[in-house]
C-alpha cells in the first residue's frame, strides 16, 4: 500500500500534478473513503494529491440571486451545522447529518462524497432534487454539469483524469418548495443506505396541487437516480392518497437494485415503495 504524497497549494498546481502523473495519481480530500479502498486493494495509486491545502475551496456562500455555492472541500459537518444551510436548504443539512458519524463528518468533504460516486452517496439525492450543478476545472478551463448527469456508475463520474470538482451550486428554491431526505439503513447513520430518497415538492394553488416534484433515489441503481416516471404521476395533479401510492409503485418498478450484504433486491424494491410514499407524505405535512 505504498504511495507518495503531494500537497498542491493551488488548483492549477493540482491539475498539472494530476496531468503529470497521468492516471497514477488520485485526489485525496478527507480520505475517509479513499484510504479504505487503498487498504482493500481496490485501487493502488502511486501518488495521492492532497487538495485540502488549496485555499478558498471550503467556503459556503449564499446569494439571493445565485443561490448557494458550496466549495468542494466543505466538510459534511460544516454542511450539517451551518445555520445558513439549515435555514435555507434544510434538506441538505438533513442529508449531511445522516452520513457516517461525527468524527467522519468532521473530515469527509462534499466533493469527496460526490466524486466517490457510491450509488448510496449521502449528499446526492438531496442535491439532485434541488437541481444542483457542479463546477469542474480542468486543463481546458471550466465546465458546469448538472449533478443529475455527473454519475456514470458505481465509483464513476464524468470527471477526466486531470479534472477537479471545485464547487456545487444550488439554485434558489421556489418559496413554496419543501424537501425531505430519508435514509433507510440497518444501524442509523453509520451504515450505508439500503435505500435513500430525496423528495422536493413545489406546491401550487392552496397547497393542494403538485406544481413540481423531484423524486431521487439512491442505492437502488448503479447511480443516484431521478425517477421521472414517478414524478409524472403527481406533477400538476392534486395530491391524493391514491396518486401518492401510484407514484410510489412506479418508483418501485423503476428501481433496479442489487442484492448485497445490506439487503436483497426484492426488499429494496419494496422499501422504495414504502419510502417514496413516506417521503411524499412527510414533505406535505412540513
Amino acid at each position: 500500500m505504498e504511495f507518495d504524497y503531494i500537497a498542491p497549494k493551488s488548483i492549477r498546481e493540482a491539475i498539472f500534478t494530476l496531468r503529470k502523473y497521468d492516471g497514477k495519481a488520485k485526489v485525496i480530500a478527507g480520505g475517509t473513503d479513499l484510504l479504505i479502498q487503498i487498504r482493500n486493494k481496490e485501487i493502488a495509486p502511486e501518488y495521492l494529491v492532497d487538495i485540502t491545502g488549496i485555499p478558498e475551496l471550503d467556503r459556503i456562500r449564499y446569494d439571493e440571486k445565485e443561490g448557494l455555492r458550496i466549495g468542494a472541500l466543505t466538510t459534511i459537518r460544516t454542511l450539517e451545522t451551518s445555520t445558513e444551510v439549515q435555514q435555507r436548504y434544510p434538506i441538505i443539512s438533513e442529508a449531511a447529518s445522516q452520513l457516517g458519524s461525527m468524527a467522519i463528518r468532521n473530515v469527509a468533504t462534499i466533493g469527496g462524497n460526490l466524486c466517490n460516486a457510491a450509488p448510496s452517496a449521502e449528499s446526492a439525492p438531496a442535491l439532485i432534487g434541488l437541481s444542483a450543478v457542479v463546477k469542474i476545472l480542468g486543463l481546458e478551463g471550466e465546465r458546469v454539469v448538472p449533478l443529475e448527469d455527473f454519475f456514470t456508475g458505481p465509483g464513476g463520474t464524468i470527471l477526466k483524469k486531470e479534472e477537479l470538482l471545485v464547487e456545487i451550486q444550488v439554485p434558489i428554491p421556489s418559496p413554496n418548495a419543501r424537501g425531505i431526505y430519508l435514509k433507510h439503513s440497518t444501524r442509523g447513520t453509520i451504515d450505508l443506505a439500503i435505500v435513500n430518497i430525496a423528495v422536493v415538492i413545489t406546491l401550487g394553488s392552496q397547497n393542494e396541487v403538485c406544481e413540481d416534484i423531484k423524486i431521487v433515489l439512491g442505492a437502488v441503481a448503479s447511480t443516484p437516480m431521478r425517477i421521472k416516471k414517478a414524478e409524472e404521476v403527481l406533477r400538476s395533479k392534486r395530491f391524493d392518497e391514491d396518486l401518492v401510492n401510484q407514484s410510489a409503485q412506479v418508483a418501485s418498478g423503476e428501481a433496479h437494485p442489487i442484492s448485497d450484504v445490506r439487503a436483497s433486491a426484492e426488499y429494496r424494491k419494496e422499501m422504495v415503495r414504502v419510502f417514496t410514499k413516506r417521503a411524499i407524505r412527510e414533505a406535505l405535512v412540513q
Binding site: 505504498e2 504511495f3 475517509t32 484510504l35 495521492l48 485540502t52 457516517g100 461525527m102 468532521n106 453509520i190
Partner: protein, 158 residues
C-alpha cells in the same frame, strides 16, 4: 520516502518522519508511544482510534499522518491535568462504571469531550446520536451515556 512533519501533541511540539501511507493512529502509537490511542477496526467504524485534531473528533486510523502537519492533536493521555488530575469525563467513567475491558474507553472519552465542547447542553438523545461513531462490545452503552451526562453537568460549572 519519509516526509518530516511538525505537530503539537498534547501540548508538546513533536517532529516526526513519516511514510506517506502511515495513519495518524500509527504515528501516535508507534512513533510517539501514545498507546492510549487504540486501533480496532482500522476502517473508521468502531471509533476506538478517535483523537482530537484542532479540537475536532477525528478517526485517526483513517487520517493520514501527513495531514496532521501543523495541527494540534489531543489524545487520551493529554486529558489529565499537569499533576495527573483526571478530567471530569475520565472521573465520570470511573464513578459510573462505564469501563469494562477498557478498549473502547479512550475513543469514547475523546469523542465525548468533542461533543460536549461543541454542545455543552447536549441532551441524552443528542449524546446518544453524537456518540454513534463509537462502538462498545462490553457495556451496552447505558453507563457510558450516564457518565457522559454526569460529566456534562460537571463541566457546565467550569
Amino acid at each position: 520516502m519519509k516526509h518530516p512533519i511538525k505537530l503539537r501533541v498534547n501540548g508538546i511540539e513533536e517532529e516526526v518522519f513519516v511514510e506517506p501511507w502511515w495513519s495518524l493512529a500509527y504515528v501516535l502509537r508507534e512513533e510517539l508511544g501514545l498507546i492510549g490511542v487504540k486501533v480496532g477496526c482500522d476502517t473508521g467504524n468502531c471509533g476506538t482510534c478517535t483523537v482530537l485534531v484542532n479540537g475536532k473528533a477525528v478517526k485517526s486510523c483513517l487520517f493520514l499522518a501527513l495531514k496532521a502537519g501543523g495541527k494540534e492533536i489531543t489524545t487520551i493521555e493529554g486529558l489529565s491535568g499537569r499533576n495527573g488530575e483526571l478530567h471530569p469525563l475520565q472521573q465520570a467513567f470511573i464513578d459510573h462504571w462505564a469501563v469494562q475491558c477498557g478498549y473502547c474507553t479512550p475513543g469514547m472519552i475523546i469523542a465525548a469531550k468533542a461533543l460536549l465542547d461543541e454542545n455543552p447542553n447536549a441532551s441524552e438523545d443528542e449524546i446518544r446520536l453524537g456518540m454513534n461513531g463509537n462502538l462498545c462490545r462490553c457495556t451496552g452503552y447505558v453507563k457510558i451515556i450516564e457518565a457522559i451526562m454526569a460529566a456534562g453537568e460537571k463541566l457546565k460549572g467550569y
